[in-house]
């Protein structure tokens, strides 16, 4: 105690620090934080807000040289037009069907695999766990050309055409979702105390029962986070559907909006922005309601070792 006071006394004169009031410092730091947060929030929310503004305008108002930041004659005609267009409804349906199936497939593959890798060791299981993580790092842009060719060769051999069918996406999307979901599920399962499944095994539960009765209920937050991840990835994926599907009735939403609403140099901006906004809505709604799970899944990838 005395030593500390002595050293601080000795140090004080040499440092000419103006000791302001701590609470005043805090108040100013707080004000600056809010000031910059407002600026950044404006920057971050600008495109979605501008999407919304444009979606309320008629084509006439868009091409007139008026202030683009204001809506003079708000109208819902873009929404009505788009939602009564059979094409657009097909895109929407395709997206919903693809995402639902992909989420189901992903969970069916990754939950048992994560359980096997975290609890039941077998020859090469540690290597496989690392391999799963490395697979997650392989980007889609590296694989779309060989996959394209593989599907073409598959057609030659078996006569089953996979290209330009929406269900080809059910085959390729799991390559994006399964590795990450398995990886974070391994992390969640590893955090469950061993006593829990030992007790279950002693009580005569099979491995499968241990998984469904113990692990899935306990790791439910992790499963929800993984489900959200799988859904957002399959909803937002753009490269694979762009490369593998071309017919209008086979497209999913993001590709459909970009390839059908943009024709040559004619941009129907009102409709494009409406379509983009409606396409962005499902992930946004899920995010709004399940934000904590979403963020948990986001940070789990890198923080769980």
């Amino acid at each position: 105690m005395t030593a500390a006071t002595v050293t601080s006394n000795r140090g004080a004169p040499s440092r000419k620090t103006a000791y302001g009031s701590m609470s005043r410092d805090r108040t100013w730091a707080l004000r600056w934080s809010y000031f910059f947060l407002v600026i950044f929030a404006a920057f971050f929310l600008l495109p979605p807000i501008y999407m919304f503004i444009t979606s309320l305008k008629t084509s006439a108002e868009i091409s007139a040289a008026t202030n683009p930041w204001w809506v003079y004659n708000p109208t819902l005609s873009n929404y009505v037009e788009l939602l009564t267009k059979p094409e657009y409804l097909v895109f929407f349906r395709n997206s919903v069907v693809v995402s639902t199936f992909v989420v189901t497939i992903t969970m069916l593959i990754s939950i048992p695999a994560a359980f096997a890798l975290s609890r039941m060791r077998f020859w090469g299981s540690a290597t496989l766990a690392t391999g799963v993580f490395l697979t997650y790092l392989v980007p889609d842009t590296l694989l779309f050309i060989p996959l394209f060719k593989m599907f073409a060769v598959f057609h030659e051999w078996t006569g089953i055409q996979m290209l330009n069918r929406w269900w080809v996406l059910l085959v390729v999307y799991p390559t994006l979702t399964v590795p990450f979901c398995t990886w974070i599920m391994i992390g969640y399962f590893a955090s469950i105390p061993k006593e829990l499944d030992e007790a279950a095994i002693i009580d005569g539960a099979s491995w499968f029962q241990t998984l469904t009765r113990i692990f899935i209920p306990v790791a439910l937050p992790g499963i929800i986070a993984a489900t959200i991840f799988a859904f957002t990835v399959s909803w937002a994926q753009f490269l694979y559907p762009l490369a593998f599907t071309t017919s209008v009735d086979q497209l999913v939403l993001p590709v459909g909006i970009i390839t059908t609403l943009i024709r040559g140099d004619v941009f129907a901006w009102g409709q494009i922005m409406t379509g983009a906004l409606l396409g962005a809505l499902p992930p946004l709604i899920i995010y709004a309601f399940l934000m904590d799970y979403y963020i948990a899944g986001l940070t789990a990838g890198a923080t769980k070792g």
């Binding site: 707080l30 934080s33 910059f36 947060l37 950044f40 929030a41 971050f44 600008l46 495109p47 999407m51 930041w69 593959i109 048992p112 695999a113 359980f115 890798l117 039941m120 077998f122 299981s125 690392t130 799963v132 490395l134 697979t135 790092l137 392989v138 980007p139 842009t141 590296l142 779309f144 050309i145 060989p146 996959l147 394209f148 060719k149 593989m150 390559t175 002693i202 009580d203 005569g204 909803w235 937002a236 753009f238 993001p254 909006i257 970009i258 941009f267 494009i272 922005m273 983009a276 396409g279 962005a280 946004l284 995010y287 709004a288 963020i295 986001l298 940070t299 890198a302 923080t303 070792g305």
Partner: protein, 327 residues
């Protein structure tokens, strides 16, 4: 307990009386585990590892895909090697000006975008961390929205914001007395635009990661630093950064991979134009391979991403293993 032991005994005895090696094999723990992981193994080998090697094979072929694209005009190599090296596509790429533009643009894009995303994320994380805990959730939720919107959709909004004639940005600029900016028409402005959009999409992810890391730094360290008379800069440099080092490294490496392999943003915003000045490896590979129909050449282009991705992946793996050992 005793019941459990008894109940597992009878089937075992039955197995002995009627030897059924197959059944016993399927009841072994490691076999069940392997079967549970089998779909994953098939997926990884069939749809990731096999295509990756198939890409290498494809890159050695000619456009017709019936013959091998041997190297040509390689007089500096012994003839035997020269006529049997199947890297004709790579050799062809090296002689094309566009290829070097793509290399330059990819590196510029990835490095600039990752640095600015990391900086912006770091600053934002501090601002969010500064405000009272009650309001943090709300701000964090708002700031993460760019990451949640599908990038192809949000880039459409940017495309419209950057439209050369009716654009909202140019309206503001002309209103303020500046010249109109050809956002996607001029090479350098187009580069700026794609990087800006990438930062916009990616910075929230950095913010979330860094915020999580900031929250895990114990308050006592800051108190100790404050008692020692450290100013805010010293606190960041000597306390925050060392404590967050691992998370900063992992996030930046992750982002390097994703940014380097980016497709959506460039494809929608500039489609590689003007004059192929903003192509990345991915968008150029798409243009050559899928749109141009030259699959081997497209595969060769996309393979040039591998070295950088591999280096980043090795470092990530090292960092994650370190974390595993610390815990």
């Amino acid at each position: 307990m005793a019941d459990a032991v008894l109940s597992t005994d009878p089937p075992a005895r039955r197995v002995i009386t009627r030897p059924n090696a197959v059944r016993r094999f399927f009841q072994r723990k490691s076999t069940i585990a392997f079967l549970m992981a089998l779909p994953l193994i098939i997926l990884i080998f069939g749809l990731v590892i096999y295509p990756a090697f198939y890409a290498v094979y494809l890159s050695t072929l000619r456009k017709s895909m019936t013959s091998v694209a041997w190297m040509r005009n390689c007089a500096w190599l012994p003839d035997v090697i020269c006529t049997y090296l199947p890297f004709g596509n790579m050799q062809f790429l090296f002689t094309r000006e566009t290829f070097w533009k793509v290399v330059y643009q990819s590196c510029l894009f990835a490095i600039t975008a990752v640095i600015f995303k990391a900086l912006l994320g770091f600053i934002l994380a501090h601002f969010v961390h500064n405000i009272p805990a009650k309001g943090q959730r709300k701000w964090r939720g708002m700031l993460l929205i760019p990451w949640v919107i599908p990038p192809a959709m949000s880039t459409l909004a940017w495309l419209w914001l950057c439209d050369p004639s009716y654009s909202a940005f140019n309206y503001v600029l002309t209103g303020a007395g500046f010249d109109r900016i050809p956002w996607t028409g001029d090479a350098n402005w187009a580069r700026f635009a794609v990087i800006l959009v990438n930062i916009w999409v990616g910075a929230p992810f950095f913010m979330i990661m860094y915020l999580a890391a900031l929250k895990s730094v114990p308050d006592q360290l800051y108190e100790a630093a404050a008692i020692d008379g450290a100013n805010w800069w010293q606190r960041i440099w000597y306390v925050t950064l060392p404590m967050m080092r691992n998370i900063i490294a992992i996030t930046a490496l992750f982002s390097t991979i994703v940014t380097f392999a980016n497709f959506d943003i460039v494809r929608v915003l500039t489609a590689g134009g003007p004059l192929d000045q903003t192509h990345l490896f991915a968008t150029w590979a798409f243009k050559l391979g899928i749109e141009g129909g030259d699959i081997p050449l497209g595969a060769s282009v996309s393979l040039f991403m591998v070295p950088i991705l591999a280096v980043a992946a090795i470092f990530i793996l090292r960092d994650i293993n370190q974390r595993g050992n610390e815990a």
